[in-house]
């Protein structure tokens, strides 16, 4: 064949079936990656994308099916085999040593040494610089990982694959952590790599990115292979219908806005950081009124978490004042704030949101088990707890194996989140603080959760949404505040702003005095 390849495909996974107890993660899935193409793998969470990639990486063995490299059948029994076959992967969460330099990270595990075992970094440096120039991957080989941007960390990961002469590059949800500008750069890099003959598998559930960069797209749904299409031949709506199995509306329908009184007022809030000496949140002031959704946008790690912790009482303030419903709550403990009408959908549902080894019903009453309806003279009223849990499970469509007694740990992420949302919204709060409420969820669940949040706003509640997802910020909010390095650097109107403009604020390139 042309280019000296013996087969049209660089890698083929044919009729792969992988079972786990009680579930078929991959059911007769086929994916064929051509030489030099960018091939997207699309599917919701739980569709089987990760399992398929783990099979390709030798982490799991498929029960049925074959894997072919350049038309020849291969056995991949361990990640080392995958590496020998030239398969490399950029993981969603980077696997880099924070206190090592870019160069050290790239050569880690594949160190060039002379006969005596002494490192020969000069040669490695030469190769890395050559690679980075060839593909437009700008990095500083001597900078430490902890000091460089997320985008540069990702480029380091890509260089790691190239340094090992990998031909097949897998990108696992690579854009989740990037700014719009960085996403554009990444897209360009991927195109460069493909043009140089590398074959790219691009795992994503973001349709716009797939449409922009991929040549072809394979869709999985609930472990089953749905089809492979040329992206040029389909619309985004068609792709989304393939992924979800029905038509999904991308836009959240919102009622007319009826602004009410100021519910939450924050003045000059400053919160210390746990990781460095500077304050994580600096002098933040804002107001949220009844009937509006105010969104704090920003790239991960710009003080949003600490801001929420300060607001909800998980961390003390260094200075500043918080007023809820006209009452100073700056020094109040968490329970008092919660009883006063502050609901909190936490950022990390496993760390804060749930007691994973508690049953669903115990988790549903986590914020109100002490109310007289659930507690009588120190004894829990289990009948009432069960009854209340069943009501919420039905009303909010929380699905689980055994209903109220299901262990929270055994539930899917989407249903865990639904349980938290049911718990927090059903308390009828005056202020709903929702932090990344749709993180890691599939489109169906995201749609549902957005509806619930908007319903709160339409019912005249104040909503403070903290989100890293550009689409979510633009779709759901009434007002956007951009947080950068612990400060509010801009206020934007979602109706008039663009992702590019937001990106400039989020990356600190632009700021206004708010």
């Amino acid at each position: 064949m042309e280019n000296g390849h013996t087969s049209e495909y660089a890698i083929e996974m044919l009729h792969i079936t992988k079972r786990f107890p009680g579930i078929i993660a991959n059911d007769d899935v086929t994916i064929q990656l051509r030489h030099g193409e960018i091939h997207a793998l699309l599917g919701e969470n739980g569709a089987g994308k990760s399992t398929l990639m783990s099979v390709l990486f030798g982490l799991y063995q498929a029960e049925e099916g074959t894997i072919k490299k350049d038309g020849k059948e291969v056995k991949i029994l361990s990640p080392n085999d995958a590496n020998d076959l030239g398969i490399g992967m950029v993981h969603q969460h980077f696997k880099l040593v924070e206190c090592f330099t870019v160069l050290d990270n790239i050569i880690l595990g594949n160190e060039p040494t002379n006969k005596l075992g002494v490192l020969n970094k000069a040669e490695a440096r030469k190769k890395i610089i050559a690679l980075s120039e060839k593909y437009g991957l700008q990095v500083d080989p001597d900078a430490k990982i902890q000091d460089i941007t997320v985008g540069m960390q990702q480029r380091t990961e890509i260089l790691k694959m190239l340094y090992r002469d990998n031909e097949i590059l897998i990108f696992d949800e690579p854009t989740a952590v990037l700014t719009p500008q960085e996403i554009n750069e990444l897209m360009q890099i991927m195109k460069n790599l493909a043009a140089e003959g590398k074959s790219i598998l691009f795992i994503s559930h973001k349709l716009a990115e797939i449409m922009a960069v991929a040549d072809r797209c394979t869709v999985l749904r609930k472990g089953k292979y749905i089809g492979t299409v040329n992206t040029a031949d389909v619309t985004m709506e068609e792709l989304s219908a393939m992924m979800v199995g029905r038509n999904v509306s991308f836009h959240v329908a919102k009622g007319e806005q009826h602004l009410g009184d100021v519910i939450l007022k924050i003045e000059n809030m400053t919160v210390a950081s746990k990781v460095h000496k500077n304050n994580a949140v600096r002098n933040v002031s804002l107001e949220v009124r009844a009937g509006e959704i105010v969104c704090i946008a920003g790239i991960d790690g710009n003080g949003q978490s600490e801001f929420v912790h300060g607001l909800t009482g998980l961390e003390p303030l260094v200075s500043g004042k918080i007023t809820l419903l006209g009452k100073d709550i700056t020094k109040l403990p968490i329970r008092k704030r919660s009883v006063m009408g502050m609901s909190h959908i936490p950022e990390d549902r496993h760390k804060h949101g749930l007691v994973l080894d508690y049953s669903l019903e115990n988790n549903i009453v986590l914020q109100r088990y002490f109310e007289p309806f659930f507690d009588k003279a120190g004894f829990l009223r289990k009948k009432n707890i069960r009854q209340y849990a069943e009501k919420l499970i039905e009303q909010y469509d929380v699905r689980s194996g055994q209903g109220p007694v299901t262990l929270a740990r055994s539930m899917s992420g989407g249903n865990q989140q639904k349980a938290i949302i049911a718990r927090e919204i059903d308390r009828n709060p005056s202020l709903l603080v929702a932090v990344q409420p749709t993180r890691g969820l599939d489109i169906g669940a995201i749609e549902y959760i957005h509806k619930q949040i908007v319903a709160q706003r339409d019912a005249g509640k104040a909503v403070l949404l903290v989100s890293l997802e550009m689409d979510e910020v633009l779709d759901v909010s009434d007002r956007i505040l951009v947080m950068y390095e612990g400060e509010i650097v801009g206020q934007l109107d979602p109706k008039t702003t663009t992702p590019e403009e937001m990106g400039l604020y989020m990356s600190g390139a632009k700021r206004e005095e708010v």
Binding site: P21, G22, I23, T312, L354, L356, Y358, Y369
Partner: protein, 375 residues
């Protein structure tokens, strides 16, 4: 596949049944390994010795001897049960109270000090012993809650500190002739716990069976209720399982950790007084190793499936084996006797592991049976 009858949910799926099976398997494994070791040492006496261990008081021919030895086992079961309650309570709340051994020693020291030193009646001695254990537990809890010191580390260190403090505390009350504390029945009869109305008559007026036996069973039931039925139990377990979620929902997570350790320590301390105030045992002069009771409580807790009611039976069983082992000294040297009991007790701590393996094996069978038709 189609012609198979719809199977009822197997009895093996009930967790309690799994625990009982796992516990029995552990006991059997312990006995088997013990037997093999005995065979290796001296094949001739192995069968008889094993029989002695298993039958304990039944190995005596005279009925009176049997009854009095059964009584002895029962009296010694009380502190073991209390220690195992201490361990399992904290374990269920997510803390591993290896300091139960030290809290037990604190209970001995303070209980006996109030009897010998302050002439206090038995119930005051018991309350004080409980408070001493609770205070010691609270120290571990405080270190954990405020400085994130692992409770295992602080527990082990406090075990030793406490042991030598108790040696000092009880030094003035030593009967020089016996090299141990004075007999309470002789010097301070008011400090001896009253005889059990139930077991006392049942066991022919056994000298040492006190109301501590009934009390211990009541406490086991109480702990079960506390853990499963009350708001406090709900809070403590939530804190133990996930202190971040507990704090998020407005619970006082630090306070809950301290309270858990205090309750746990109180149980061990009270358990010590429930044994030493029967006057069946005295504190010897200059003890140099932490009594095993607290550690055996760990084995009893696991063998009982970490259930307060299961602990009643597992504690009795372990005490039964330990006492049976001591009668074996007629055939084997006492070190061997202790060694064999230790093997059996050691195996008891594997209940959770065996239960896990049982669960996995079942899971595998189910998937194989179902083949590809899983949902």
């Amino acid at each position: 596949m189609e012609n198979r009858k719809v199977s009822r949910p197997s009895i093996l799926r009930i967790p309690a049944v799994q625990t009982v099976i796992a516990s029995l398997l552990c006991v059997l494994a312990g006995l088997l390994i013990g037997f093999i070791v005995l065979l290796l040492i001296n094949p001739g006496g192995a069968t008889e010795a094993m029989g002695t261990i298993i039958s304990n008081f039944m190995s005596f021919k005279k009925a009176a001897k049997q009854i009095s030895n059964f009584g002895n086992t029962l009296v010694k079961t009380v502190p073991l049960l209390m220690c195992s309650l201490s361990v399992l309570f904290s374990y269920k709340v997510g803390l591993f109270n290896i300091g139960a051994a030290g809290q037990y020693v604190a209970g001995i020291g303070v209980g006996l000090f109030f009897a010998h030193g302050l002439n206090a009646p038995w119930w005051i001695c018991m309350i004080m012993a409980m408070l001493a254990g609770a205070a010691l537990g609270a120290i571990s809890g405080l270190l954990k809650a405020t400085r994130n010191v692992n409770e295992v580390i602080s527990g082990i260190m406090l075990n030793w500190i406490c042991l030598y403090l108790v040696n000092m505390l009880l030094a003035p009350y030593m009967d020089i002739k016996m090299n141990e504390t004075f007999a309470l029945k002789v010097t301070h009869p008011a400090a001896v716990i009253p005889e059990s109305p139930l077991f006392g008559s049942l066991l022919n007026g056994h000298k040492y069976t006190t109301i501590a036996v009934e009390l211990a069973i009541l406490i086991a039931v109480g702990i079960w209720i506390l853990m499963t039925k009350t708001k406090l139990g709900y809070e403590l377990r939530a804190t133990g399982l996930n202190k971040y979620a507990a704090r998020y929902s407005g619970m006082r997570d630090g306070f809950n950790i301290i309270l858990t350790m205090a309750i746990s320590g109180g149980l061990a301390g009270l358990g010590a007084s429930m044994f030493y105030l029967t006057d069946m045992i005295k504190w010897p002069m200059a003890v140099t190793s932490v009594p095993a009771m607290g550690f055996n409580g760990i084995a009893a807790a696991f063998l009982g499936g970490l259930h307060p009611l299961g602990a009643i039976f597992s504690s009795f069983f372990i005490q039964h084996i330990t006492d049976g082992g001591s009668f074996m000294e007629k055939i084997y040297p006492s070190e061997i006797a202790g060694f064999i009991s230790a093997i059996i007790i050691y195996m008891c701590a594997f209940v959770l592991l065996i239960k896990q393996q049982l669960g996995k094996a079942r899971m595998r069978r189910v998937t194989e049976k179902k083949g590809g038709e899983a949902k």
